[in-house]
């Protein structure tokens, strides 16, 4: 993954960048599998590596395939990025250690979902039970977000088509 990230930053050919993005997404998916989050890994592989790569390629057809040299010096953005990164790393010091069973996230509602979920919903996959049943409102909100995003894209890209058709 490190190699992919360094190459992403160095390469100037946008086609290679898109392919590297796909590669990076697949590597992220394997990390998700290693963390036992198969549902997330599946989404990452299908959306991150598959469809967004295709969309980026379609966008690439509309512009140049070589990245322009940056106009500004990179030092100010670099300093801001490193500063933000350091603050975030400082923030992780207060987090409980990884896979600590006493961490608040494991003692709040998670035990109830794990113990009563299969009995109450009859669904063996706890991820589905939480997503669709216990957190049904959240999933409804997510679907609405996806819907709204699509409406936005249609309003932005679809309208031009009609204007052009009207002129002809």
């Amino acid at each position: 993954m490190m190699i992919a990230v360094v190459a992403l930053a160095r390469v100037r050919n946008l086609f290679a960048v898109i392919v590297l993005f796909g590669l990076y997404s697949f590597l992220t998916a394997t990390v998700m599998v290693a963390l036992d989050a198969v549902d997330v890994a599946m989404t990452e592989a299908a959306v991150g590596a598959g469809i967004s790569t295709v969309l980026l390629l379609a966008a690439l057809r509309l512009c140049h395939s070589e990245e322009e040299k940056p106009v500004h010096k990179p030092w100010l953005p670099l300093a801001v990025t490193i500063g933000t990164g350091l603050v975030l790393v400082y923030g992780t010091w207060d987090l409980p250690p990884f896979s600590d069973p006493e961490a608040p996230i494991h003692t709040h509602v998670a035990p109830r979902y794990l113990e009563d979920g299969p009995r109450e919903t009859g669904v063996p996959n706890v991820v589905t039970a939480v997503l669709a049943s216990y957190r049904g409102f959240d999933t409804l909100g997510e679907t609405t977000v996806v819907f709204t995003a699509a409406i936005g894209v249609i309003a932005l890209l679809g309208r031009r088509r009609h204007v052009r058709r009207g002129k002809q």
Binding site: D39, V47, V54, T121, V127, T128, A132, G136, T143, T144
Partner: protein, 140 residues
């Protein structure tokens, strides 16, 4: 890419299996990994694959624009419909326990329908965005 023999043959072989896998992910989501979002993304990926090999106009004959656009809204309406079905049956909004005499069976039924709604919306959205982008490329 339209005239590439290898791609056409491999695509013809693979697309049915991709769609079958999407159905498996959709309806087996209760038991294994997967669910509506993943299944919708896989169906959209299969259709994008099809459009890339056989051309955008062919894909648009298979799934026309009006159908894709109505899928975006239909999925969300199906989800909301399940919520109101819970209200109608005497429970709260998005309450699945009341959808069947047996509460666990009701949960199964509710989850089945909302996952289907999510899948339809996600598939429609991804396909519509792809259609719009690919079409802009062809206009030039």
């Amino acid at each position: 890419m339209k005239n590439d023999m290898i791609l056409r043959v491999v695509g013809k072989l693979f697309i049915p299996f991709i769609l079958l896998f999407a159905l498996y992910v959709q309806f087996h989501g209760d038991f294994g990994p997967g669910g509506g979002f993943q299944a919708g993304a896989i169906v959209a990926a299969a259709m994008v694959f099809y459009a890339m090999i056989y051309g955008l106009s062919t894909a648009r004959r298979v799934l026309p624009d009006w159908l894709v656009e109505s899928m975006i809204a239909a999925g969300l309406l199906l989800y909301l419909g399940v919520g109101f079905a819970g209200l109608y049956a005497g429970g709260n909004f998005l309450d699945y326990f009341v959808l069947d005499a047996d509460p666990v069976e009701g949960q199964h039924r509710g989850i089945f329908w909302i996952e289907l709604g999510v899948a339809i919306t996600v598939c429609g959205v991804l396909l519509k965005i792809y259609y719009l982008f690919a079409q802009r490329g062809q206009d030039r």
